[in-house]
């Protein structure tokens, strides 16, 4: 078991609980997609795992060790990378410099070179457009650069928060395809996806979140064909499927 959450409760500041007891486990090499309505706590869950938010209760075990409340930079070093929602590249830096920023905390030059080579193999765009300012790329290209930046560290667990948000369908498919490739190469992925159909068909395992808990989980395609899921989350009447 790579990652295990037991009864995790978390929220912001003195506000009410957003996560209300999340139980979730990810095997090494898993590709899990979280779907659910707005406000269910999907992004909050990712933030809690990557250390941006301290859990109020419950345990988060990464490789058997409790990491609840550990600093995000240390967790990044441990191998948990988080690609947040929206645009997060350094717009005026070149594409290559953006990718280098992903290796900033690495001291071992050999590891950096290795990570850069691997990232460039998966995302040829970071070599092709290396001298271009990242802000001049299209949304889909920027997302690829951001994921490449996270991959330089060669993380074991990659958290992706709605990477296809705001992308036109074809650019979104490119990003999804890249995620599949990363997973095949052994990276464990936890994906939050607004487009439930696309997310569930890409991932092996799906989890449905609602009101701060995991309500339902199962194989991705199984959930896709579940009449109740279809009705509630895929915006489709059960009969018309």
């Amino acid at each position: 078991m790579l990652l295990q959450l037991e009864g995790v409760i978390a929220g912001y500041g003195s506000g009410s609980d957003i996560l209300r007891g999340v139980d979730l486990s990810l095997d090494s090499g898993a590709f899990t997609c979280l779907i659910g309505p707005n406000g269910a706590g999907k992004s909050t869950l990712l933030r809690t795992i990557s250390g941006l938010l301290r859990p109020r209760q419950g345990r988060i075990l990464f490789r058997g060790r409790d990491i609840g409340g550990r600093r995000p930079d240390l967790l990044f070093r441990d191998g948990i990378a988080h690609v947040p929602q929206g645009r997060s590249s350094f717009a005026q830096m070149t594409v290559w410099e953006n990718v280098l920023m992903g290796a900033y905390s690495l001291a071992d030059q050999r590891q950096v070179d290795q990570g850069l080579t691997q990232a460039a193999e998966l995302f040829p765009i970071i070599r092709e457009q290396r001298h271009k300012a990242a802000g001049l790329l299209s949304g889909g290209e920027q997302k690829q650069v951001e994921i490449a930046r996270a991959m330089v560290r060669q993380p074991t667990l990659l958290l992706l928060d709605e990477p296809t948000l705001g992308l036109e369908p074809r650019a979104a498919r490119v990003v999804v395809e890249k995620m599949r490739m990363l997973n095949q190469l052994g990276t464990t992925l936890l994906l939050v996806e607004q487009n439930a159909r696309m997310g569930l068909s890409a991932a092996k395992w799906g989890c449905i979140m609602e009101l701060g808990t995991i309500k339902l989980q199962g194989m991705g395609d199984q959930l896709l064909n579940d009449p109740q899921v279809k009705r509630l989350y895929l915006g489709q009447a059960a009969e018309s499927a």
Partner: protein, 335 residues
């Protein structure tokens, strides 16, 4: 393309050789003086840009370090008899240590606190030199012993010293730009929070950048004191010097090694000519107004500076056509 690149690498060296030869032809006079001051401003502006351009923190305090450098060098010469050409780099180091101290106070936070602290620092330094009468002579200033040189050669050592300072400034700026440190500074300018999240030690980097940045102001101040053979609080702490550095950097392009150099090489000769052309009664004021107008025009019409604007203009053609092709290839790859 290859010729283009070789030419780009070559022209700074060609310029350097040319400037090295100038005093052999013309060892005195207006033009040598003009070039010397251009080098001085260019070097300080490149230094300013390490903080203001790379890290994005605008310092209004560089003249404070320039003035203190002038005083430090003058006092070392008057009291201990140490020649300025030897002490200047060490005076620069003193400025850096002071800069690190000031940075330690003002750079642990983000945002405009730094601007205000550096501006205040200039005035505090000036008042201090004015009021420490027993040491600095107060408003009467300090006279430095003249260099033992024939009058027609007296500019030459300053000319070469300022040229050396400029060369060092450019080399340091290039080295920083290519280093991980420089990448971290630019990340700070782009988004300090994100930079920190990526593992950049933002406070340390800002303090370090500021210390390096003011070394050039301190060293130039030391040389300048010996050049005038005189220091007083008004001359040494003229706020216009800081403004000049900023305008030169903005005009040429902030955050690009050659930006401040280009800015200085255009603005300093122009303003020197303006002072030269105008009747001396008016020159001071008109020159300030002109500088103000240049600042307004740059901010309004050339906010990215000459070099960046030129690069954008050159890229424009190909860029307008590019995205269509690029997108097409992505679509094919996606199937």
């Amino acid at each position: 393309m290859r010729i283009d690149r070789r030419w780009r690498r070559g022209w700074p060296w060609a310029g350097l050789v040319l400037f090295l030869l100038v005093p052999l032809v013309q060892p005195e006079g207006f033009y040598l003086d003009l070039l010397m001051f251009t080098f001085m401003y260019a070097a300080m502006s490149v230094g300013w840009d390490i903080m203001g351009g790379y890290a994005g923190y605008v310092s209004l305090g560089h003249v404070g370090f320039f003035g203190l450098g002038s005083y430090a060098a003058a006092l070392l010469l008057v009291h201990l008899g140490l020649p300025v050409f030897l002490t200047a780099p060490l005076v620069g180091v003193m400025a850096s240590i002071l800069g690190a101290g000031l940075g330690f106070i003002s750079l642990r936070t983000r945002g405009p606190a730094f601007v205000i602290v550096t501006l205040t620092f200039t005035y505090v330094a000036q008042l201090l030199m004015l009021d420490l009468k027993s040491v600095t002579g107060g408003s009467k200033g300090l006279f430095l012993p003249l260099l033992d040189l024939p009058a027609n050669l007296v500019i030459v050592p300053f000319y070469y010293a300022m040229l050396a300072l400029l060369v060092i400034a450019v080399l340091v700026s290039v080295a920083i730009r290519r280093s991980k440190f420089g990448l971290g500074l630019i990340a700070i300018r782009e988004d300090e929070g994100k930079a920190e999240a990526s593992g950049v030690n933002t406070s340390l980097y800002k303090i370090l950048a500021f210390a390096i940045s003011v070394w050039f102001a301190g060293t130039a101040g030391a040389l300048h004191a010996q050049y005038l053979n005189y220091v007083d609080p008004d001359l040494a702490f003229e706020l216009i010097i800081t403004l000049n550095l900023i305008i030169m950097s903005l005009f040429g392009s902030r955050g690009i090694v050659w930006g401040p150099v280009l800015g200085a090489f255009i603005i300093y000769p122009l303003s020197a000519y303006l002072i030269f052309l105008l009747p001396s009664r008016l020159a001071g004021q008109v020159h300030l107004v002109a500088l103000g107008i240049v600042l307004v025009l740059v901010v309004m019409f050339l906010p990215d500076g000459l070099i960046r604007s030129y690069q954008a203009w050159r890229r424009k053609g190909p860029i307008d056509r590019r995205p269509v092709e690029a997108r097409a290839s992505i679509v094919e790859a996606a199937g």
